[in-house]
């Protein structure tokens, strides 16, 4: 299989660089720096040592016997990204990009955040590496994730409220892109998912692919075979592509991505881009986009802020089209049920995002063959969601 994206940043017909001219030079600079650093031994060493000594990698895989039994008759392993420093997989990418920024001599970092996890991860990386950090966050999300706002401020980041549009993640990305256009020479924008213009989907994927690389080795060691199924939730798609990427060449592994089904199939009530979206361009990339018939971007809903986004990473759109990865959705209600069941049966409180993958297993696990080995990405811990779930009761 040819390595993707191609030279111009496309995964098949998806991806590309659809941004104003002012940003093009910066994207080229970022790509050039990355392609050079990727082969640079001292860079690799620095990244690996931070991942090991600071982030806490490799993260373990935990067999979830009791929760697995609720789902079906297979062996379920959880890849424990929740045990990373800051509590989610987002730190893998934040550290990697912050290191690149430092080598590019960009002293100022900006980031967008929805649930706050990527903002916290970026603020953490900046504190560690001595970089200035500004995080854009929608006002609605700031209210939903008060604790993470305070956490970012504790870490020395400036959190800028975004009051335009739907005041959520997509508007935070708009503001971050505007900042990037304005401060193009001094600033690096650490995008948190496999979204946006090339080279972001490639670079974020590469930094997250450590998840699947570790998981494959760990599952092989534990079971002496490849997993039969790998499953993860898909917002922008960074934790899922991180899990899937190294598994793509192993055709026997069934790969499943789970989107946010929200409250139902009506536009505005969910974030299921494959069932409800159409080909479009948002935030610099061509992918499947939730939009109205006039090409205006739709508002989305999910119980989990991290999945609440109208577009999906272009590589996912490509993998869906190829049929290599299957995509389904899981409702708010089912995700919430999985959130409770995993907490009770395994003593692990999952992020509401990750609970979507678990919810799909709860509902559909019976269709998975007996004794299969299933690995689910537990992309983050649910502490951040406890106040929200508490309020629902």
């Amino acid at each position: 299989m040819k390595a993707l994206p191609d030279r111009r940043g496309y995964f098949g017909e998806f991806g590309g660089q659809y941004v104003p001219e002012t940003l093009m030079a910066a994207l080229d600079e970022f790509e050039t720096a990355y392609r050079k650093l990727r082969r640079d031994r001292s860079f690799r060493r620095e990244l690996d040592s931070i991942l090991e000594d600071y982030v806490g990698r490799p993260t373990p895989v935990t067999e979830a016997v009791k929760f697995g039994a609720l789902c079906g008759d297979f062996k379920l392993f959880l890849k424990r990204e929740d045990l990373n420093h800051t509590g989610a997989h987002k730190i893998n990418n934040a550290i990697g990009q912050a290191l690149i920024a430092k080598r590019m001599r960009k002293q100022r970092i900006i980031a967008e955040t929805g649930a706050g996890q990527h903002g916290v991860a970026t603020a953490t990386a900046c504190a560690l590496l001595g970089l200035e950090c500004v995080v854009y966050m929608g006002e609605v999300d700031m209210a939903r994730q008060e604790l993470n706002v305070f956490r970012m401020r504790l870490l020395g980041a400036e959190v800028v409220p975004v009051s335009t549009g739907s005041r959520t993640l997509k508007d935070a990305i708009n503001e971050a892109l505007r900042d990037r256009v304005t401060n193009v020479l001094t600033t690096h924008y650490i995008l948190g998912s496999v979204l946006g213009p090339h080279p972001y989907p490639m670079i974020v994927r590469d930094f997250q692919s450590v998840i699947g690389r570790e998981a494959l080795a760990q599952i092989r060691k534990r079971t002496r075979r490849l997993p039969d199924v790998a499953i993860a939730c898909v917002g922008g798609g960074s934790n899922s592509i991180g899990l899937f990427y190294e598994m793509l060449p192993h055709k026997s592994i069934r790969l499943i991505g789970v989107e946010a089904g929200g409250r139902g199939p009506q536009l505005g009530e969910h974030a299921a881009r494959f069932s409800g979206g159409a080909l479009g361009v948002l935030h610099g990339t061509r992918s499947m986009v939730l939009q109205d018939e006039f090409g205006q971007i739709a508002e989305t809903h999910s119980i989990s802020a991290g999945l609440d986004y109208p577009s999906i990473g272009p590589e996912h759109a490509h993998l869906q089209k190829l049929g290599r990865v299957e995509y389904y959705d899981c409702s708010d209600e089912l995700a919430l049920e999985a959130f409770h069941r995993l907490s009770e049966t395994e003593g692990i409180i999952p992020a509401l995002e990750s609970a979507h993958a678990l919810g799909w297993l709860l509902r559909n696990g019976r269709s998975i063959k007996r004794n299969a080995v299933v690995v689910a990405n537990l992309s983050g811990r649910g502490d951040k969601d406890v106040p929200q779930v508490m309020a629902l009761q």
């Binding site: 111009r8 660089q17 001219e21 093009m24 910066a26 193009v184 080909l279 935030h283 205006q296 971007i297």
Partner: protein, 256 residues
């Protein structure tokens, strides 16, 4: 010869730097937009950019974003932009859009309608020249305009010079649109360099709001583009007075 082409030929003959006025269609409403355009013409605008509102305008500053939101909130669609264009005559019209609304509308269909309603060319802000070949072939006879920025490399300048039909839109600061007090001196130097590398007329936009800006740019480019200053004036009061307020901005900048 296209209307935009003849405009630049005329400007050259008159040794005059033209003024292109940007407005967001449908803000505050379509009928007022038509009256605003008439007033801008009377005040001395040489061409009009018809902004097609989009929900996520990443290249625009807060003033134009707010105008887009108002236009969308009152239901403005691409069809309304065409209806506005139909009521305007005697001035070149350039549609200014993000890619997604046109992608959704269909490029061929958009081009056909635009041409029949009197729109001369289209500028798609988030369509870089690398990705434009396919789109340009679908747009057929509708001309396209591309952006250059101070950060554009020589290779990109050459590519834009080839692809841009009637003129090139030069983004005057590394900033987004928004009326600024002063023009960046480094911009002026960079503009002079860029101008030497292109053969098409240059229109300089983003940030122009004062007569002093116009004077500083008069001999450095073929036209200036005024956007945020006009859009801000439109929003600053009732709909009935919007045409006069918009025209006043153009008169102030041209000092006539």
């Amino acid at each position: 010869m296209s209307r935009v082409n003849s405009l630049f030929a005329r400007l050259r003959k008159e040794r005059r730097c033209g003024l292109i006025a940007y407005i967001t269609c449908g803000d505050p409403d379509s009928q007022t937009t038509v009256r605003i355009i008439e007033a801008l013409k009377d005040a001395g605008a040489d061409a009009i950019e018809l902004g097609i509102p989009f929900s996520d305008p990443i290249a625009d500053g807060p003033v134009i974003q707010a105008a887009s939101q108002r236009a969308l909130a009152n239901g403005t669609k691409i069809d309304d932009v065409f209806a506005i264009a139909r009521q305007i005559s005697d001035v070149p019209l350039i549609a200014f859009s993000y890619l997604n609304p046109i992608l959704r509308f269909g490029f061929e269909r958009f081009a056909k309608r635009a041409l029949s309603e009197g729109i001369d060319s289209v500028l798609i802000t988030d369509l870089p020249v690398e990705a434009s070949a396919d789109v340009k072939s679908k747009l057929g006879k509708l001309k396209s305009v591309f952006l250059l920025a101070p950060t554009s490399t020589s290779t990109r300048i050459a590519a834009v010079n080839r692809a841009s039909d009637d003129f090139i839109y030069y983004v005057s600061t590394t900033g987004v649109t928004g009326a600024r007090k002063e023009l960046d001196p480094a911009l002026l130097a960079r503009l002079d360099e860029v101008r030497k590398k292109v053969t098409k007329p240059l229109a300089v936009g983003f940030g122009i709001s004062e007569h002093a800006h116009y004077e500083a740019l008069h001999d450095r480019c073929e036209a200036i583009v005024v956007g945020s200053a006009i859009v801000r004036a439109i929003a600053d009061g009732d709909a009935a007075g919007a045409p006069d307020r918009a025209a006043a901005v153009v008169r102030r900048i041209l000092d006539n």
